[in-house]
């Protein structure tokens, strides 16, 4: 069980309000990702839920019970920290056992849970090593192991993959997703990486300056961003934003078109431009094109990997009208 409700939760450090009153409900078993640029308050929000920070106002409920004043250990939540926060002076086994030791769980049960966690996380051979002797990915697994054995109501992850290199990060992403499927426990995951958010989440919470910009499934956010900020933040490469005549013609202040929703042609189209840089990823190619109307701007277009274009080539671009996002002067989506 792990249904977490935030009711008008706010946080201020001194006179600075980092999180204005905020409401959010996280359902049992959901994988929720808090995503946003650095300094948006996503980590603070997680720490409020964990109990590592006091809320300045509002209420946090876990499974319907008021947990606002409950100390962190009593909330039944487990956390995986960005730096893993393993105890360097304890072996892997002792690290994983620590929360159970604190809870006074008997030795036989401790051993059973350690064995099963170690098996699930491929740590069986490393149980007697110290964290200092492990690789980054293994340390990450130990931190997860330490969280699993507590059988918590919810897992909290604070940017857990940001210290890993790209290849490992992808692997761990899959492992955490699989873990979620297997345990079916609530997970709250903080990241600044929208790719992690899109690939792992059931529900994404986009934050900016302590304010929730939008809550929704990855595809909802991708298809119907509520405002220009979410539109620019979700999706890679980022959405092309156009203002001026092109926008006014469609009754908007700003229009956005994703790189994958632009058709390219060497003969004709809506906008004429010059190819700047072509990034060949193999499966896809991203072209950065300077429109002739304003060569200081860049538009990104996603084309097939086999498409050949060179620096200086002239091309025509045509947006797919049904995929154009329109925003008003406040940046809000126009229906």
């Amino acid at each position: 069980m792990g249904r977490i409700t935030l009711d008008k939760v706010r946080k201020a450090f001194g006179d600075v309000e980092v999180i204005p009153p905020l409401d959010l409900t996280i359902d049992d078993g959901e994988f929720v990702v808090f995503v946003g640029p650095s300094g948006c308050g996503k980590s603070t929000l997680l720490r409020l839920i964990a109990g590592l920070e006091d809320v300045s106002g509002g209420q946090i409920r876990i499974d319907g019970n008021d947990a606002t004043m409950v100390p962190p250990a009593k909330r039944g939540l487990a956390m995986v920290f960005q730096s893993y926060a393993l105890y360097p002076h304890m072996s892997v086994r002792k690290n994983i056992a620590f929360p159970m030791r604190m809870a006074g769980i008997d030795q036989a049960e401790q051993d059973r849970r350690i064995e099963s966690a170690a098996k699930a996380l491929n740590l069986t051979d490393y149980l007697d090593r110290r964290p200092g002797q492990l690789s980054g990915g293994q340390r990450q697994r130990v931190a997860i192991g330490r969280a699993i054995v507590r059988e918590p109501a919810a897992f909290l992850f604070d940017e857990p993959l940001s210290n890993l290199d790209a290849a490992l990060r992808h692997g761990m992403r899959l492992e955490i997703s699989e873990l979620h499927k297997r345990l079916d426990t609530t997970m709250i995951y903080v990241t600044h990486d929208q790719v992690e958010a899109m690939t792992m989440a059931d529900k994404i919470v986009v934050l900016q300056a302590g304010v929730i910009e939008q809550v929704g499934s990855p595809l909802e956010l991708y298809r119907k961003p509520r405002n220009a900020f979410v539109a620019g933040f979700i999706g890679s490469p980022t959405m092309n934003m156009l203002t001026g005549e092109d926008a006014a013609k469609r009754g908007a202040d700003t229009i956005g078109i994703r790189p994958e929703h632009v058709t390219i042609s060497t003969t004709d189209g809506t906008w004429k431009g010059t190819v700047g840089v072509a990034e060949h990823l193999g499966s896809d190619t991203f072209l950065h094109i300077h429109p002739d109307s304003d060569p200081s701007k860049t538009m990104t277009v996603r084309v097939d990997g086999e498409f050949t274009a060179h620096h200086g080539d002239t091309v025509w671009l045509t947006p797919q009208e049904e995929h154009i996002h329109k925003f008003d002067a406040q940046g809000l989506r126009i229906k």
């Binding site: 250990a73 730096s83 926060a85 393993l86 620590f98």
Partner: protein, 276 residues
């Protein structure tokens, strides 16, 4: 990348450094050597470096005459007691400042430092008077407390800089894992801080051992540590070089050995973390 250095250049460095090092160390070496000489050999002209009749006579004579054991036990008690007491008081304080910093933490740290800068001579008479009034002049316990207070700012500072290097996330993890404050300090912080605590102990033991203002002014017989023991040689016994050397060697040998282990910590402890 360190570059390859020619052996010739390295040999030159080595020779120069050893000459300078030995010159600086020479007074200590000379004292130790002289302590094994007869009084006649000690003032022989020209001086004899090694080729003398080695004897332990000076040591036995010094110990017989001056009740060396009492001075030594006082030194150990005062230096050890003040250090341990200081650590017990400083660990919780340093924990608070390192892991729960408030806006005033910096001011408190600097204020503690400023008490260390207070010239002892400026408060000599008040302390002297208080000791008389409280009947603790020449009292070992009073010396333990006074030396503890003198070194407390350094102990707090050293522990603070060591604790600062322990990531706060680990303590938060312990809190999430259900550790109480006591368990957090006992099972997580202290084991991780043991190297730092040990070096703090070591350096402050040395500083207390060598303290020579309060120990000279507030002790005479009962609580007198080795600093007094040596000062009593200032004359005329000081002219008996071999005995002076034996007494000196006994006073500095234990601390030299400890000191060599704590070179690195010395920098941190005495610069308040300002040079790393």
């Amino acid at each position: 990348m360190a570059r390859a250095v020619t052996n010739q250049r390295k040999a030159l460095n080595t020779a120069l450094a050893w000459i300078v090092g030995l010159a600086i160390f020479f007074p200590i070496l000379w004292t130790i050597l002289t302590s094994f000489k007869t009084e006649a050999d000690a003032i022989a002209n020209p001086p004899i470096l090694f080729a003398f009749d080695w004897t332990l006579e000076n040591y036995s004579e010094v110990m017989e005459r001056s009740n060396y054991g009492r001075f030594l036990s006082n030194s150990i008690l005062i230096a050890g007691g003040s250090t341990i007491l200081g650590i017990i008081i400083a660990v919780p304080a340093a924990w608070s400042m390192a892991f729960v910093p408030s806006r005033r933490t910096k001011d408190i740290l600097l204020w503690m430092l400023s008490t260390k800068m207070l010239p002892a001579v400026g408060v000599l008479y008040p302390i002297y008077l208080l000791c008389i009034r409280l009947g603790v002049l020449d009292n070992r316990l009073a010396m333990v407390v006074i030396l503890m207070l003198i070194n407390l700012p350094i102990i707090v500072w050293m522990l603070y800089t060591y604790f600062k290097e322990i990531p706060g996330e680990i303590l938060e993890a312990a809190r999430m894992d259900g550790a109480s404050l006591k368990e957090e300090i006992l099972y997580v912080l202290t084991p991780m801080a043991i190297p730092g605590i040990a070096s703090t102990l070591l350096l402050n033991f040395i500083l207390a051992w060598n303290e020579a203002f309060w120990t000279l002014n507030l002790t005479s017989v009962d609580a007198a540590p080795l600093t007094q023991f040596i000062a009593s040689y200032s004359s005329p016994e000081g002219l008996f070089f071999a005995k002076l050397s034996a007494a000196s060697t006994m006073a500095i040998a234990p601390i030299l050995i400890l000191g060599w282990f704590s070179q690195k910590q010395l920098v941190r402890g005495l610069t308040f973390g300002a040079v790393k």
